[in-house]
Subunit: 229 residues, 2 copies
């Protein structure tokens, strides 16, 4: 019997899993360029971490590679995919087909990594019934029905901030197990629903902040301010 009372602790730190995804991208790139082996030193240099960190990260999952010989790329790639759960494909639904949803729908990078959007939802009656990228837009009231019929486990939430929690509740009610949230809000979700959040304009704002902050620091220094040497 599956017990769901308690949140299940992740087996490895999330930050390590994130690096492991990035090792995979780099290994795929090496393979495309015809390389057959790599080393923890090379992987570390590409990702900006130490070789020891690479060995530790890959060590969470058992013993790969041979001391002094490095890793065979054709072995490591499927092993990492198995670890990440991307050796299989995943069905997704997307909720919110505004600007951002439309943009994400046209991005082919998800499909290239085994993630297949199978249905679209929006609450706007002008969008419902339209076909975008070969997919029909359903009203959000159909979420549970489609999720069950298609055996969908993951959802992209690209609805506006003000509608995000309502949509998240519908997705959770439909049995979705993971939400990729693009709305700039914190979602209240049950412990057994996983999520990741990305806010594209917050990230760009951070870049502007870093540049502005440098200007101010330089001004302070040039004015003979407190941080001068």
């Amino acid at each position: 019997m599956v017990r769901r009372e308690k949140p299940v602790p992740p087996l490895i730190p999330k930050v390590a899993a994130s690096r492991i995804s990035r090792y995979l991208r780099y290994l795929e790139d090496l393979e495309d360029r015809g390389e057959t082996t790599t080393s923890s030193r090379q992987l570390g240099a590409a990702l900006g971490v130490t070789a020891a960190q690479v060995r530790k990260d890959l060590g969470y999952f058992g013993q790969f590679g041979f001391p002094g010989l490095g890793y065979k790329i054709s072995n490591l790639i499927p092993e990492i995919r198995r670890i990440l759960g991307t050796e299989r494909s995943w069905n997704l639904v997307m909720v919110g087909i505004g600007n951002l949803g439309n943009a994400l729908l046209r991005y082919k990078g998800f499909a290239a990594h085994g993630f297949r959007v199978v249905a679209l939802f929006d609450s706007n009656p002008k969008l419902v019934g339209r076909t975008l990228e070969g997919l029909t837009v359903y009203p959000i009231t159909k979420i549970a029905q489609v999720v069950h019929a298609e055996g969908v486990e993951l959802a992209i939430l690209s609805a506006p901030a003000s509608a995000a929690q309502e949509v998240a509740d519908l997705l959770v009610g439909a049995g979705i197990r993971g939400i990729y949230n693009f709305a700039p809000v914190l979602l209240n979700l049950p412990e057994d629903v996983a999520y990741v959040s990305v806010d594209l304009s917050v990230e760009l704002e951070q870049l502007a902040f870093l540049v502005s902050n440098r200007d101010r620091e330089l001004e302070r220094r040039n004015a003979g301010g407190e941080s001068g040497t």
Copy 2:
């Protein structure tokens, strides 16, 4: 005289700046809904941090708000924009008009926050000369010329991984001060060029990992494995 030998330390931690962007999104949302005041408790609850953390984050920039009275939203929003450097608008160029670049170009969220894409670049001769969203696609050899002519400070790098460093070098050579990197590689950049990185498919892979990991943990528990109680 501006001295550039040493990296300029940020005035506040990057992680606080990231939260401050999210406070701003939430405040904008409150204002849209007709609210006029908020509190550190309300902001904290929306973002999943403590009220004390909110007061500390906003305290990096001086004294806002009044004990017991909270914050006046119409004062706080422009103050945060000034802190983040988004009280002004920023010109951007975008390099790499493939799938992802095309998707990002159609996303209106950047313009809504004062970020204006003014020129597009690609190395593909089939794309050069085309007009997308009212902007001409230039060859990447024109980057320096256009960046200077338009007074551009920031760039979106949406080129493939294999071309990303070469493009970054061109952008740095042209005097770009900040790069928003969507390529799944670590860029080698001078200390005085800021950057943020987002990898949309790595984030989705992380979601699949979190869900898969839970399945495995449940399997281990059900098998009476080592983590059973």
